[in-house]
Each structure stands twice: as structure tokens, then as C-alpha cells.
Symmetry: C2
Subunit: 263 residues, 2 copies
């Protein structure tokens, strides 16, 4: 039944001549491993449809902080972005990592162009309001400006996003890369048949974290709720899955975490 | 006579309906001083014509290197860019400085977008060939791709360049910011009436480095040769003036070093 629906959807897309758009998010585990990064970028460069890459951070920022006398601050497993940490994040994410990825894609024949949310005001965010925890210079996205993205895509350019945004009032902000990928996919879902893919070091969402073979081929929201309640899906996967389901329910055509299709 | 020629040129530009384009280069001395940077960006943001900003480095990279155990290498007053130094340059120039400038311009209502030469393959360079000195990962520009720049300018976007380029084969390269500004101005001179302005901490080219009042209102190439031969113009000014005269002779409409008009 699902497959039939999927085929019908694909036919409809073709009939309506909606362009496909592939949005890939890669995380720190790939960025930290030269061989894995090279392989992932080679696969990405081969994709023929218009595409967007979003990359996270990785350990380089964590390594740099102590050398500069900056102690990492964490609350509930989440990084607190104080001013010196934001500077390091901006150096590593928007500078070293973003330009390394862009230059490697350029070498692979993919016309990549690196962006933070500040560039062309593509992603405007707001400093996260303090409730119980002050996350510092963490940005919650308020708007994705799609006009520039569409112009770039139409010119055959592949935007490559780092996880830095801004508030349009002169403040850079650190923003979760999964959330950036999700927000971009949602913002463009009205005009493209968006395929959102989260790269993940496991085969997909696992029912047993110790067993790769336990990955789910698909996951419905009601099953997600059940697995969350029973504790099978926990901790780090929850924000990622919340993003994935948010994208799916907002009209993103296809959402996958590694090989797990979000339904 | 010169004024008449200038007026004639301006009338011709107007008649031919060639768009004006302002290219400003700012250097480390401004980037290192928050108040000066703010003032320079406020002035720049007010300019109504299409515009491009190119920024240099500043002391942040020099400060970061020793903290990371990287010793600055200089030969004949020129920095040698080894691999660790290139990483630091990429972090600081393409990351911290570029995004700081972009976010401040965005706050001033200027729709800035940061670029390295790798982004959209806008500036392709080649690793400087080793003759007597190996400059390491220093890039000599071979091509400025104007199509993307024109698209961005037409959309009301202000490109903001850092001094990092690439070789299109996966290697980032460190490139002099004056040379980047000059190359961009020359590449666009065929389609815009380009005004190239080098920001400079002095009033202009000085006949006596100790006396600000000795600045020249204009400088011809033959006078430059005379002053160079007599030692009045020396050392650090020579590459800057070589760039300025190269721009002028390649058809850039107006070239100024602070208040000194290059003729």
C-alpha cells in the first residue's frame, strides 16, 4: 500500500514537473574521518538533481577550545555557546570545514558554494530565549529565505551550509545542523519534491543499539511514539527523529535517516 | 585637462548606461579595530551602486598560530604558508572575519554574502611555482569567473571576499587581498565602470612617510617610476601600487589608494 502510494506520488511529481531536490546532512563522524568524507562527497557529487549539503561540526572545535583556554560547557548533553566558543565554532564550521568541503566538491566537478545563514540572509535565527537554561549564542531558526537558494540552484550551484546562522542584527549564532537541513527542506518543499537524507553512522534507526541488523526500514510517527515511550528509542536519536517527522509532516517528499524511511 | 577627461568619461558612462561598480579593499589595520571596522562598514553599506568588499587578514591569525604551536615563517617580509598556517588562515579569514563582516553588513541593511575563491569557483588560482623561494600554499590567481558575481550583483547582493582561493583540484590557497581586489576589478571592468578603492591607514601615497600632509592627490605611472628609483616610494607600497597601476591600465575606471588617485 505504501509502495503504491510512493509510486503514485512519483508519477504525480513527474506529471506536475516539480523538480527534485536532494538535501543531505552529514555530521561530525564523517567530517572527522578524511577517507569517509572523501567517499561521502564523491557519492554526493554524482547526484544529478539540484542538491544542497548541510554539514555539522566534529571534533576539531572541541580540540581547538582547550588549546585556547576555553573550557567546553555542557548542560544535559547540549553545548552551551559562550562568546569564545562561538568564535571557535565560526572559525571551524564556517571557515575550515566549510571551505574544505567546498574545495573538495569543486575538485569533483560539483559547483559548490559555502554559506552560513548570515550570507545573503539565507537563514535568520533568534538567540534562544532563556527559560531554565541559558544556551548562550544558540540560534533558533525563524526564517529561511528561499529566493537566493532558488537562484543558486537554477544556476547549477550546490549550496553547502555550515551550522552558523545570524539574527540580522549583527550577531552570529550556533545552530544545530539537523535543524538547518530540516528547515531548508521544509522551506523548499512547496516548490521542489525534496528528498531529505540524514547521513548516520548506523544503518538506520536501530531497535537494538548493539545490533546493526535491527535497523528499521521504515518508521511511522505512531510507532516512534511507542518506541520512545518504551525507551527503545532514546536520548540522541530523539531530536533527530523529531526533526525528521517535522519535515515529513510539513510536506517534504521523502525523509530518511540512513536507510530508515520516515513515514 | 585631467578633470575634463574625467568629466567626459563620466558622461560617456552615463550615455552608454554602463553600471557603476564599487570595489573596496580593507586591510588588517581596520579589521583589528572594532570601532574603525564599524565605521568603515557603515560608510560602505551606504553606497548605493552595486559593490564588492574584499578584506585582508589582520593580527588574529598571527595571534592564533603560536597558541597552536605554529611558528610564523617569513622570507623577505612575506609570509610562507605551510599547511598548518593555511588551516589557521582558512579559519580566521574565511570563518571568523568573513562571517563577522557579513553579519555586521546584514545588520546595516546591506545584503552581504561571503565568498572565498573556492565558492562557486569564483577565483581559481595556482599554487605559486617554486623559483628561489617556496611560498607554500600561496595562490596566484589565474581566473575570475564573473558570471556568478554578475548574478549576485543583479540580485542586490554584495559579495564579501576573504583572501582564500583554490586550485579547483581540492587545494585551498592563501592569496593577497590587494591582488584579489585588483583581479576582481579587472575581470569586471569590461561590463561595469569599476571604482577600485584601497582603504589605507594613511591619507594616501606619502612623499614623506612621517608627514601625512605630504600625500599625493594623484600619481602617474611615470612619476611612480621616478619616485621608486629615488627610493621615496619603497617596500610595502610597491606591491600595492603595482596592483593599482595594473588595474588602471587594464581598464578599471577609477583606482584610488586612500585619497591618491592612480592615473
Amino acid at each position: 500500500m505504501r509502495r503504491q502510494a510512493c509510486r503514485l506520488y512519483n508519477s504525480l511529481i513527474k506529471y506536475l514537473e516539480v523538480d527534485a531536490l536532494y538535501v543531505l546532512k552529514i555530521g561530525g563522524k564523517i567530517l572527522d574521518d578524511k577517507a569517509k568524507l572523501k567517499a561521502a562527497l564523491a557519492d554526493f557529487a554524482k547526484i544529478k538533481t539540484p542538491k544542497i549539503l548541510v554539514h555539522g561540526g566534529g571534533k576539531r572545535a572541541n580540540e581547538l577550545c582547550p588549546k585556547l583556554g576555553i573550557e567546553p560547557k555542557m548542560i544535559d548533553g547540549r553545548r552551551i555557546t559562550d562568546a569564545p566558543t562561538l568564535e571557535v565554532a565560526t572559525m571551524i564550521y564556517a571557515g575550515l570545514l566549510n571551505k574544505t568541503v567546498v574545495s573538495q566538491l569543486q575538485a569533483l566537478g560539483c559547483n559548490a558554494l559555502g554559506l552560513s545563514g548570515a550570507d545573503g540572509n539565507v537563514i535568520q535565527a533568534v538567540k534562544r530565549p532563556v527559560k531554565t537554561i541559558d544556551y548562550g549564542f544558540a540560534g533558533d531558526i525563524v526564517q529561511v529565505n528561499t529566493a537566493l537558494l532558488k537562484t543558486l540552484l537554477q544556476q547549477g550551484i550546490t549550496p553547502v551550509f555550515c551550522s552558523i546562522t545570524h539574527d540580522k542584527a549583527g550577531q552570529l549564532l550556533n545552530t544545530n545542523a539537523d535543524t538547518i537541513a530540516t528547515s531548508i527542506a521544509i522551506a523548499l518543499a512547496g516548490e521542489y519534491a525534496v528528498q531529505l537524507q540524514f547521513h548516520f553512522e548506523k544503518k538506520g534507526v536501530l531497535m537494538n543499539p548493539e545490533d546493526e541488523a535491527s535497523f528499521l526500514r521504515s518508521l511511522t510517527h505512531s510507532d516512534y511514539e511507542v518506541h520512545k515511550a518504551s525507551g527503545i528509542i532514546s536520548a540522541g536519536m530523539i531530536p533527530k527523529l523529531d526533526n525528521a517527522f517535522a519535515a515529513k509532516s510539513a510536506g517534504v517528499a521523502s525523509v530518511k535517516i540512513a536507510q530508515t524511511e520516515i513515514l
